[in-house]
Subunit: 189 residues, 2 copies
DNA sequence: GACGTGATGTCACCCGGTGACATGGGCACC
DNA sequence: GGTGCCCATGTCACCGGGTGACATCACGTC
């Protein structure tokens, strides 16, 4: 490897993020991203399926990590606790390092309907993968779906709260507290 | 009213649904939809913001109905029960009538990533509106967000279960049962 | 040193979506 | 019963995202 300038995908990602932050998502064109990375529009689309996907490059690795953690967890706890632990720890390992970047990225995603949609489907896909992993462990299908959705909701809201604080504090702790709040919200009156 | 052929929006919606069902979402072009409705592409975009939106024309009314039901509910119950009742009853009134159509529509949405994204953001917007309505009633902000998300999840999953059965059975009942399952899923082990 | 391979470039194209401006039928108002 | 306004629609030109087909070119291999 290394015939052309190395790490074309990484350069494209960096160029895209920089331009999105500078000008806003809508005002940036794929041709401009490619140009800044020293490549062409066509090559951009060989590395990223579309203009949105470049902001979610880490999602597959995160999902794989969570699924692996669920599969490897001991079986002596409630499924929802297994999933929350997997999300909190994988998140702490792969996401928390970005610290204050998290908030800027979150604000960017929130600024565009297209990006919000893409973020939502990433969460939905994550929930579906987690549900499948739970079924693999013998959890009833219906319970697996609901458990996965609830845990991912707790994670997403907890991550948001953590990002709101510019990444100070512990991400896993924020997630676990959010799950506790979710349980409170569902307690019958 | 009635200068040109009446109900351009409705004709466009009917033409779009027909073509989507006939050929699949991706294989249909906006120009074709407009042509079948006896209009032009430009007019389509005056009635619907984009090619996806035509499938979610009822969403604003549904959201408004749910928000109104939440606002009008008695205050002597847990917030999550208020929201579930609002979702179940508004859903029963506005959605359940479609019966077997529901499944076909659901399958269509599921067949396209673009449509799945759009469906997800509609749910997210609904949850945000419900959360706002809860805060209006004095529910703490954090609890409002989580309550709304949980209730919308229960509604969505319950609706899916109901649609899987081709719309037989009672939608509100399916939703309430799903909430009960969600509570079970979150019970600490 | 011919050859295959794989990442990139080039080019032409389709389609979703929009801005600007023209058209023409109904309606109010005189 | 004209006159003029309003507004839904049509027309046209354009931009940008996304793709298919084919060329190119550096590198490793035999």
């Amino acid at each position: 490897m290394g015939r052309w300038e190395a790490d074309a995908g990484g350069r494209l990602q960096y160029a895209a993020m920089s331009l999105y932050f500078e000008r806003g998502y809508d005002a940036v064109t794929v041709a401009e991203i490619a140009e800044r990375a020293g490549l062409t529009k066509r090559t951009f689309f060989r590395h990223y399926a579309d203009k949105r996907e470049v902001l979610f490059a880490g999602a597959p690795a995160f999902q794989a990590g969570v699924v692996a953690a669920v599969a490897a967890a001991p079986v002596d706890q409630a499924p929802v606790d297994t999933v929350i632990a997997a999300l909190a720890e994988t998140g702490g390992a792969q996401l928390a390092q970005y610290g204050e970047w998290a908030r800027a990225r979150r604000d960017l995603v929130e600024s565009s309907a297209d990006l919000r949609e893409r973020a939502l489907i990433k969460s939905a896909d994550l929930a579906a993968a987690v549900a499948a992993a739970l079924r693999e462990r013998g959890v009833a299908p219906g319970q697996a779906t609901l458990t996965a959705h609830a845990a991912v909701t707790a994670f997403t809201v907890g991550y948001d709260r953590w990002a709101d604080g510019n990444g100070v504090g512990d991400l896993p702790t924020a997630v676990r507290e959010t799950l506790a709040d979710l349980r409170t919200a569902l307690t019958p009156g």
